[in-house]
């Protein structure tokens, strides 16, 4: 994958991750999870009360291991990619600086993509860093599994073409999820 192609994959994958997240959460905000059945609550009521009045002999510390500075067992620790070596602003922060507006309700995809275009110049250093650090072989392999009948992710996309990729991502296409994961690993978080 050359740099030009990587740049498009970088922009589109990050946009997919953010927009899918915002759309899923806007859906929850609009329709909170259904209340549980009486049976489900009955099973849980005693435990809920116990959790809020837990004694020292009762807490399962295994659930909270790995959350502090001490080394955690590998099985308990979440797999989070290493922090990037550079301290450049990440995709999300750069979008924020470019004037991204997030209102209540589902995100405005057209406005979001316009902001991506505005942020593109400021993201060039981050793209350069990504090209240097990304597992390009893994990325190429993941891109190869993407549907051939959609406009290429590694090239410019009109809004309607991007929406096809967003719908595919929300339908949990494994290859597309792998591409998004590889790109998101390059972002600073925490």
């Amino acid at each position: 994958m050359n740099r030009a192609a990587f740049e498009y994959v970088y922009l589109h994958a990050n946009a997919l991750a953010e927009l899918a997240f915002l759309r899923a959460l806007a859906g929850v905000a609009a329709a909170p999870p259904a209340d549980y059945t009486a049976d489900q609550l009955a099973d849980n009521a005693a435990q809920a009360d116990r959790m809020m009045h837990l004694g020292a002999d009762e807490i399962d510390w295994a659930a909270l291991e790995g959350l502090d500075d001490a080394p955690a067992p590998a099985a308990a620790a979440p797999v989070v990619a290493e922090a990037p070596a550079v301290t450049l602003p990440g995709f999300s922060e750069t979008m924020d600086a470019a004037g991204l507006q997030i209102d209540d309700g589902p995100p405005d995809v057209a406005a979001y993509l316009a902001t991506v275009e505005r942020a593109r110049a400021a993201l060039q250093a981050r793209v350069d860093d990504g090209v240097a650090r990304a597992d390009l072989a893994a990325l190429d392999a993941a891109v190869a599994t993407l549907p051939a009948d959609l406009a290429p992710l590694a090239g410019p996309l009109a809004e309607s073409q991007f929406m096809q990729w967003l719908n595919l991502h929300e339908a949990r296409h494994a290859g597309l999820a792998a591409v998004v994961t590889e790109i998101r690993k390059l972002e600073p978080f925490g």
Binding site: A17, E18, A20, F21, L22, A24, L25, G27, V28, A29, A31, P32, P33, A34, Y36, Q40, N44, A45, Q47, A48, M51, M52, H53, L54, G55, A56, E58, I59, D60, W61, A63, L64, E65, G66, L67, D68, D69, A76, A77, P78, V79, V80, A81, P89, S92, E93, M95, D96, L100, I102, E170, R172, A177, V180, T181, R184, E187, P188, F189, G190
Partner: protein, 436 residues
Amino acid sequence: MANHDILSPQEASYVAHNAYFTLKDWISGQPVIGMETRANVRRMVTGDGVGANTKSGHTNTSLKSTDIGGAKLERVFSGTTAGVSTGFGYVLSFARGGSKHVIVATRGTRAEHSKADIFTDLRGSLTGFAGFGQVHHGFKNTFDSVKIGLARDEKRIMDADVVHCVGHSLGGAVATLVAAHYSSQGKAVKLYTFGCPRVGALGAQFAMESSLGKENIFRVSHDLDPVTMVAPYPYGHLNGLPTDANNMLLVSPTGRLLSVANHDMNEYVRSVGDSEMNWNAVRALSAGVDRDNAVLARWLLRSSDNPGWLTQTAAKGLSYLMKAFSHFLQAAGFAAIAGLTAMDLFSVMLASNMTKMAEMNPGLMECIRQAAGWARIVITGAAQITATVIRGILAAMMSVLRPLATQSLLLVNAAGGAALPLMVAGASALAGSVIG
């Protein structure tokens, strides 16, 4: 009619602020390891109160202008770490309303804590506090040293009709243990804390509440003071529920999101130290604070002091996740959900079976999957997706909050803005010595 058995907000905040003057040269704004002279402590506590603090525009917190201006300075107690003695606090006595009163004031310090063990290692941080349960071991070690220092005032304290325990920051944590100790000895105790971290866990906080009486615990905190947010569940505050009348959560005066300045005792003095203030007025201020968990989540994640971490996009998204989890936990019977911060919420989800129940909700599961992708959390298996995502996000949140809380402690109430030069590491027990 004034209740003579309790300190006013002004009296309590002044007493807490003055505890720092027991540290050598705090008065000049250039504190060093050691103990201040008794004469200078008396001057700052009940005399003219003039020092670097007042010269830089902060409130003069001498009690001279208050109703207890005639209080007598008793012991100025210290503690010793690795052979080094430092001032820790002071004891005052006064008579009011026909009763004998004693005040025990303790200052915040990081002398007993290495950077590594403040608010990290949730499980390893706990130790037993006789009769009450599990508390943070660093605070317990400091309490043990202070108890030695207070021993010479034991008769005066035990003869008092009312014992008032006052402290800011880590001093509030120590004051909590001092208060619990004397209440277990049968004394009538009042506890006043400002910007206090969570001291007890797994029921200890409830045991101390029960011993003291909730109406005798006055907890004042700024809503964006990072120190008051640590450590997360299973730690908890005394009077930590929004419904607790004496849980006085105030709008942070600095206007900065999750800033170390919100922990400054000078700011607490500014918030509640007016002579016209009474506790009903402070409670009324507290009623105006937005306690919406989603708001807390947004502010926790969007810190003006740490702009590189999350943006409004992510903060907005995560605030929705907070709302969803909050609803989820409420529906599952967690009645105390309103008293939990965003981080507590995640901790409770992890420590219970709630993650499995979350996976029964298709809408919530979709959010969690997308949150994983956004947060760079790689899901390696189908099982425990929710727990993995929550753990990853919680770890990231703690990585933001912990340095802020630690930084707040380093800069606590330094009149000249300089960090305390106390570099003593470890949490060994202290031998007390008393000056004066």
